[in-house]
């Protein structure tokens, strides 16, 4: 079984309209599995599981970040003051 990774994407403004998750699974060898999401005007988030080779997952996340989507662990910031 391929490695799994759970992440939270946050989309702001124009990115909400972009088919980011479709492109991610289309352009990279990564299976995306959405578990929960909330999209409203101006902001939206999606929590999903990614399955694939770890380097491929990292490459796909690098691309997601590069277009301006924020990528966090599923529960948000873990580094606490």
């Amino acid at each position: 079984m391929s490695p799994l990774k759970r992440v939270r994407f946050t989309f702001l403004d124009r990115l909400i309209k972009e088919p980011v998750i479709y492109r991610m699974s289309h352009d990279f060898n990564v299976i995306t599995n959405i578990r929960r999401a909330d999209v409203q005007e101006g902001v939206g988030w999606v929590i999903l599981e990614l399955e694939g080779e770890i380097l491929e997952i990292e490459r796909s996340l690098e691309w997601v970040r590069s277009i301006g989507v924020r990528v966090d662990p599923t529960l948000g910031d873990l580094v606490e003051p």
Binding site: R6, T10, L12, R35, R36, D38, Q40, G42, V43, G44, W45, I47, E49, R70, V71, D72, P73, T74, L75, G76, D77, L78, V79, E80, P81
Partner: protein
């Protein structure tokens, strides 16, 4: 044994056995501890609580871990002070200050870490860990020292040395990570999955968070078994804010206090106000930010419990308030000058927020109000260093009297 029934997903309500899990396998929602409040009601009483230890463990019936002397550094049961000077200044009849800056490692984090560490040992862990830039690191390292267990503290490598001295003194294994804040976040998430350690705010987070319920219990007890009409608390992840209210409501549910009508007010600083901004814009979805505030201990840009903090505001008919960055130091100074309490940036935010809530008319003169001061000012002296401005004189009585206009 603690009166806990299970862990439950806050989103889909699926239940899980008690263990080191923080996320629902089905929907990836956060897990919380489910208490058997009927069983708690059978065993708890005001008398039992008041005859308990002078620490947060007097509320052990309501906590997800049993008391363990091995980890106890005497966290909690901090003073609730009836304000005179600040109340007068703000025009309030009944203002109380919950001074949690006098915990053993000088912040409220001792409450959550005490419970997390006790539970970690119950679950068989021999190492505790955290990723932190400040108060949490201090508390984790202190508790590990007391418990005689290993602690790993992960910090961004560009953090100033002075910021982590309060943790380093307890001699944990401190790991400075090269990379951005997001890189530290990601690495710790991966390490928490791979190592058999209790990351206090990750895999044992449901237990950790409930340590903050004691901030609700204590205030109710110290007010003479009643809840205040208003509570003002600073917020970073939002967890403490929600748990204060949960604590008050649990006391109500088991009959320790009467009906709770406390309005919960969340205070954040302008430079990192994702929760308060969502409130002001009427949203329940948090728009993450990059923290840029001098109140560093509130610097969480994508708060794990932000949504639940907004729900707590809604449920309690409370509000959120933003302190401008230049008001943070003013808040610290005001509290120090009127009450003799020196707080850090988060406390400055709470005081500045309180002031604004009074000015807005949200808090009225005759309404009982508690403001939570969660950390000690000696941790962030740089915010208020301009107060050091002595009068310079020659070493003569004449010079002294002349400089102060005391000469007859």
């Amino acid at each position: 044994m603690a009166n806990i029934a299970a862990l439950r997903c806050k989103e889909c309500s699926r239940e899980y056995p008690v263990g080191a899990f923080n996320v629902c396998d089905f929907c990836f929602g956060p897990l919380e501890v489910v208490y058997d409040l009927e069983a708690i009601a059978q065993v708890t009483s005001r008398d039992k609580i008041t005859s308990g230890p002078l620490s947060l463990w007097r509320y052990a019936d309501f906590l997800p871990a049993d008391y363990n002397a091995q980890i106890d550094i005497n966290a909690g049961f901090t003073p609730l002070i009836r304000s005179s000077g600040l109340a007068k200044k703000l025009g309030l009849d009944e203002l109380w200050i919950k001074n949690d800056s006098v915990n053993p490692s000088y912040s409220f984090k001792d409450r959550v870490v005490a419970v997390a560490t006790a539970k970690a040992l119950e679950l068989g862990f021999e190492t505790i860990a955290c990723a932190s830039t400040g108060n949490l690191a201090c508390s984790v390292a202190a508790h590990a020292s007391r418990a005689g267990i290993k602690a790993y503290v992960f910090i961004p490598s560009d953090l100033e040395k002075g910021k982590v001295l309060g943790a380093a003194i307890y001699n944990p294994t401190m790991v400075a990570i090269d990379g951005s804040y997001d890189d530290v976040n990601r690495l710790c998430s991966e390490l928490a999955d791979q190592y058999p350690w209790a990351f206090v705010n990750i895999n044992v987070r449901p237990f950790y968070a409930d340590g903050s319920k004691t901030l609700g219990y204590e205030v109710a007890e110290q007010l003479g078994w009643r809840a205040p009409e208003h509570a003002v608390a600073p917020s970073a992840s939002g967890a403490m804010f929600t748990k204060i209210y949960q604590g008050l409501k649990e006391f109500e549910q088991v009959g320790i206090i009467g009906n709770v009508h406390t309005k919960m007010h969340c205070a954040q600083a302008r430079g990192c106000s994702p929760i308060a901004t969502a409130y002001e814009e009427g949203r329940l979805v948090i728009r993450p930010v990059k923290p840029a505030t001098i109140a560093k201990s509130l610097g969480i840009g994508n708060p794990a419990d932000g949504y639940y903090a907004l729900k707590t505001i809604e449920a309690s008919n409370g509000s959120a308030v933003i302190a401008e960055e230049n008001e943070v130091a003013d808040g610290i100074k005001l509290l120090a000058e009127t009450e003799g309490i020196f707080t850090e940036g988060a406390g400055g935010v709470a005081i500045a927020g309180l002031k604004r809530l009074v000015e807005r008319g949200t808090i009225k003169k005759n309404e009982s109000t508690v403001v939570y001061i969660t950390g000690n000012g000696l941790k962030t002296t740089e915010i208020v260093e301009d107060v050091v401005n002595p009068i310079h004189i020659d070493a003569t009585v004449t010079a002294f009297e002349e400089s102060l206009g005391l000469k007859a």
